[in-house]
């Protein structure tokens, strides 16, 4: 399949990741910079698989305290009530605001987990040099790039609530450590998606052709 298609890697060329100029490689170990924009040229993102694995595992670990620990404590007339992400979702369902419950559930619980599962799946298939549905797997990668940012919504909700609800003894809201872990999950998964190189998905086919 795809006999007539040539990739930069097979032709001894490197595409500059900043300005997309095609440059001739001076050898496998040569350190080169782009003649047009001065960016360090790399055939693939450096240590892509190792880095992405490390970040994905870290995010999986942080995902647990992020969901178990409270993200806020609401103090109202002497009563303190702590909320986790899930209890926030349940509160919205109980009060009949299910569209908001859905937004929070999808953004805070579903998307981070989906992103981690997709990245794990891509890492495993790339390591096994699978040539299974490469176009769809590239699409999956693009999804992780686009949706990840929306998980930050809960952190922003906490920021706004903390700013607005500060009425002394009447009512106040405190951010809790769960929010820090949750924020870490979002930031780490963003870095994980950045460190994964989608061209690795396509590298198998060429190594078969060689």
């Amino acid at each position: 399949m795809n006999q007539g298609l040539k990739t930069a890697r097979n032709e001894g060329l490197i595409s500059c990741h900043s300005c997309h100029l095609l440059c001739r490689s001076a050898g496998p170990d040569a350190i080169m910079t782009c003649p047009r924009c001065g960016t360090r040229l790399r055939r693939r993102k450096p240590n892509s698989i190792k880095r992405t694995w490390a970040l994905v595992v870290a995010a999986f670990i942080f995902y647990i305290p992020a969901n178990l620990l409270p993200i806020t404590i609401v103090t109202s007339l002497g009563n303190a009530q702590s909320d986790t992400i899930m209890s926030g979702v349940i509160y919205f369902i109980k009060t009949g605001m299910w569209p908001i419950a859905l937004v929070i559930f999808v953004a805070s619980i579903f998307v981070p987990l989906l992103k981690l599962i997709i990245l794990t799946f891509l890492l495993i298939t790339v390591q096994r040099k699978s040539s299974w549905r490469q176009k769809d797997r590239t699409r999956l990668y693009r999804i992780t790039e686009v949706v990840g940012r929306w998980s930050m919504v809960d952190i922003f909700v906490v920021t706004i609530l903390v700013a607005l609800v500060k009425l002394g003894a009447l009512a106040s809201i405190q951010a809790q450590s769960g929010a820090v872990f949750f924020c870490a999950v979002v930031v780490i998964t963003l870095f994980a998606a950045m460190s994964f190189d989608p061209r690795l998905i396509w590298d198998t086919e060429e190594s078969l052709n060689e």
Binding site: M152, V157, I160, L164, L167, C183, R199
Partner: protein
């Protein structure tokens, strides 16, 4: 070799067809967008950048949201939540929110201005490749539209216990999201590199 390009998502080498009209070129193998040609890209992006800077000033200078419960009113600005998180001993959260909703968008606009203003007058700014690369690195960290969704959720959440009054800054912030998205979308990076090649 100038019209040959390797796809950034699947590394396939292909010739970029020359297009005179505005349009999008996709990779023949994986469908990634390789080039987006935009009419009057520099002028369009520059004007959106200037509009964005004005809106950014408004969004930071005026009240953002007010919270009214009985006779008590709490007035906040865009930065209040960030200061409050810091005061509560959550500096990590505070810094992330400050970066993603204030500093990154501001830096993006300043860098855009630094590149485009000289280009408009046929000059090449110093360090163009580095500044341009920096803008692209910043892109994923601009989360203003996500913040807007956060506002929506908070307002719904608080609506039962109090009255929320939107301020001038909130509307400016909303407009800024669209202006910044348009600014990023209207920049034709190939055009910038062509200019850089010409003048070098």
């Amino acid at each position: 070799m100038s019209s040959l390009i390797a796809c950034h998502d699947c590394d396939l080498i292909q010739r970029l067809p020359h297009i005179s009209e505005a349009g999008t070129i996709q990779c023949i193998r994986c469908g990634a967008v390789l080039h987006q040609k935009i009419r009057n890209s520099i002028e369009r992006t520059l004007s959106l950048t200037l509009a964005g800077l004005v809106l950014f000033g408004l969004a930071n200078a005026f009240p953002f949201l007010a919270f009214k419960i009985g006779a008590q009113v709490r007035q906040t600005t865009l930065l209040t939540g960030i200061q409050e998180l810091y005061a509560q001993g959550m500096p990590e959260l505070s810094v992330i929110v400050l970066l993603t909703t204030v500093l990154v968008p501001f830096a993006q606009m300043l860098c855009m201005l630094y590149i485009l203003l000289p280009l408009k007058f046929r000059q090449i700014p110093k360090g163009l490749p580095q500044v341009f690369r920096f803008i692209r690195h910043l892109q994923p960290w601009n989360m203003m539209e996500v913040f807007m969704l956060g506002i929506l959720v908070s307002v719904v959440k608080l609506a039962k216990m109090a009255k929320i009054i939107p301020g001038v800054a909130l509307y400016s912030f909303l407009a800024l999201i669209f202006v910044l998205a348009a600014m990023t979308a209207s920049l034709d990076s190939h055009l910038i590199w062509e200019k850089w090649d010409e003048k070098r």
